[in-house]
């Protein structure tokens, strides 16, 4: 199924939770932020939120800034 992550299309082969997606891409979990379909998804929900077709994800982390 196809979802959108950070504005780009991403193909998912099998069922996947948000947490699994992050782990697959080696994203440091600490202080990453996830927005699912425009709503903030709290960390505690990542492991039991299954991704659906056409879901839009924004995954952000803190970078250096002024």
């Amino acid at each position: 199924m196809e979802i959108v992550v950070n504005g780009e299309a991403e193909e998912l082969i099998s069922d996947c939770t948000v947490l699994q997606l992050l782990e697959n891409h080696a994203v440091t979990i600490k202080a990453a932020v996830v927005e699912l379909n425009g709503k903030i998804l709290k960390q505690e929900h990542w492991k039991n939120t299954l991704l659906q077709t056409d879901d839009r994800l924004e995954i952000l982390i803190f970078m250096g800034g002024g």
């Binding site: 992550v5 950070n6 504005g7 891409h25 080696a26 994203v27 440091t28 600490k30 202080a31 990453a32 932020v33 927005e35 903030i40 709290k42 960390q43 924004e58 995954i59 952000l60 982390i61 803190f62 970078m63 250096g64 800034g65 002024g66």
Partner: protein, 267 residues
């Protein structure tokens, strides 16, 4: 030298913002560094307690490092909303930052002008109003306009952050007169942010009565960022001490005659 620094007691002169007593009046940004590794040493040399950072999309292709891994334990995180072009975007970024669990402070930075990176005062005001309502400690970065600053104060901003000169320009206090007016008229901490290029400029801002300064580019792009951070720390302290000590008297010129008030003796 260290003994001299240690003997300076500014503990009574803390800066109270957002419910916290800050000992350091130097805020440091974490952008533009050559690597994340140097950041902890820079922050340690600066003795900064409030550190800014930005929220960005993760890039799958390149391995991502979270800046938070490099920050000392007891710092206050001040995420900025850089990237936001409108109030709505700034509000969204602020909520995301809060959800990431790094406290409720936020620096509002809304820029529509990509050439000079001048902040949009109007959108900044709208974002401030909304985020104050949501319980954030809001520090708006703005172009030094008295009218906007008054409205930001009324909206509940915790401080006002006027720019000294455009972001990254390192040109010092080009807006000095306007900042002076804000310091005179707005009963909130005025934190000069953006454009401070040298330690002397940070000292100058503090001497004028600024509550604090925020420095990023000048440290990150110095040849020796750790040493520059230390220089800024000392400059901010020196400027603050100079302000507290009060300026010396200047000689009043004696007048040989009294052309304007002489008539009082003639009667």
């Amino acid at each position: 030298m260290n003994d001299i620094i240690k003997s300076i007691d500014l503990s009574e002169d803390s800066l109270f913002i957002g419910g916290v007593n800050l000992r350091s009046r130097l805020l440091v940004g974490t952008g533009k560094f050559s690597s994340h590794e140097i950041v902890p040493r820079v922050l340690e040399a600066s003795c900064a307690q409030v550190i800014t950072m930005a929220l960005r999309r993760v890039d799958w292709k390149t391995p991502q490092e979270n800046i938070l891994n490099y920050l000392p334990q007891n710092t206050i995180l001040l995420p900025n909303t850089s990237g936001a072009r409108t109030a709505d975007e700034a509000v969204r970024i602020a909520r995301l930052a809060k959800a990431a669990g790094c406290g409720n402070w936020v620096k509002i930075e809304v820029v529509q002008d990509q050439r000079y990176l001048m902040p949009d005062n109007w959108e900044t005001l709208l974002a401030t109003e909304q985020l104050v309502k949501e319980g954030f400690v809001v520090l708006p970065y703005m172009s030094p306009d008295l009218g906007t600053a008054k409205r930001l104060q009324e909206a509940g901003a915790a401080a006002i952050m006027p720019l000294g000169s455009p972001i990254g320009s390192n040109r010092g206090l080009q807006t000095k007169e306007l900042i002076r007016i804000l310091i005179e008229e707005i009963p909130l901490p005025i934190i000069v942010d953006a454009g401070i290029g040298r330690p002397s400029e940070a000292a100058e801002a503090m001497e004028m009565g600024a509550a604090a300064v925020l420095v990023n580019t000048a440290i990150a792009t110095a040849c020796d960022p750790v040493l520059m951070a230390q220089a800024f720390r000392l400059a901010v302290m020196a400027g603050r001490l100079g302000y507290l000590a009060g300026p010396g008297d200047r000689r009043i010129e004696a007048a040989a005659s009294s052309p304007l008030t002489g008539f009082l003796q003639e009667a």
